[in-house]
Amino acid sequence: MQHLETSCISLKNHSQASKNVPDIISTLIGPEWFYRETSLIDFITVVVVIASVFMSGSYRTYTTKQKRYTFFQTGFLLIALAYLLKAGLSLLMYMYTEQTASWLTPEILFSFIFIHHLLLLTGFYLLYAIYNKQTPRDIIWILSLLSIITWMSVQRVAALHTTLFVLLALLTSTFIAQRRKNAITRLLAAGFVTLSSSQLIFIFKHHTALYIIAEALQLIGYLLLLIALIKIRIHGKKKITNRHHP
């Protein structure tokens, strides 16, 4: 606890915007005693998201839907980078030393947060764009809007989670409305419902208990996504084996 107080004091002395720095650290990566768990959850998220990128990459050569795959891979890659940044920051704060205090100025911290928010918003928007055709005008307009939301969200983090909740809710509705329903599509829909709920709860994350519930939901959401990916892999092998032994 003492090192956080020291870091907050040192950060306060560096900037005019310092008044919000301790609040921003705690609203971004939760209470100090949860830093290690936050970074672990974010690292698991990165692994799942990167797995989606690699898996889609391995199917890319067989498909004719190149543009959709580009959006899918870029979207998930940006999300992975965003969580990698957050996981790194949580780990940095967990292993905080005097040396860290010397270079982690409020400006650097704000840049970290700004980039994290921008990557997350752009990543989820690219996923949304797969299912809702966007013209170049739409893309320019929405990306500029997302930049404004990012600026706002550095000060008011609820702006980020509200926007992410809306994007995820729209994505979830697409998965729920899937024409063909099977165990895998249901798992994906459940995963996205959980992720949307986590963003809704993250809006009120200044309450420690709600922050932890939201992080737990985020972990469950991405684990459901991981199970769906594993099931896709198994499905191919199963179908081949069943053909030989009908």
């Binding site: 898996m55 889609s56 391995s58 199917y59 067989y62 498909t63 004719t64 839907k65 959709r68 795959y69 899918f72 797969i130 299912y131 697409t174 998965f175 899937q178 063909r180 099977n182 895998i184 599509t185 994906l188 769906a228 896709i232 892999r233 499905h235 191919g236 092998k237 179908k239 081949i240 053909r243 030989h244 009908p246």
Partner: protein, 90 residues
């Protein structure tokens, strides 16, 4: 109106039907089952043979087409890709 099949869909249908017959299939049967014209099937067969996914075997009763191990792996990838696209609605 039914959607036009992509090249991957046609290859999937050909490999799937051949895979379902461990003793191989006659070219005419494959043509009907994969819903293709004779010329179209010949073109695809040449491609699949060149890539090592299928092989033609001459028998007394005539020609038979068999799927290779490489073809089975390729079919598995196509099935996975189709499941992936179906699940994510791509």
């Amino acid at each position: 109106m039914a959607k036009k099949r992509s090249r991957t869909d046609i290859i999937h249908d050909m490999l799937m039907y051949t895979h379902s017959k461990p003793n191989g299939v006659k070219p005419t049967h494959l043509m009907y089952k994969a819903n293709m014209s004779h010329a179209q099937m010949q073109q695809y067969l040449v491609d699949l043979e060149e890539n090592g996914f299928m092989q033609r075997v001459e028998e007394k009763s005539g020609q038979r087409i068999l799927i290779t191990e490489k073809g089975i792996l390729y079919l598995q990838k196509i099935i996975e890709m189709k499941t992936f696209e179906e699940a994510f609605g791509l």
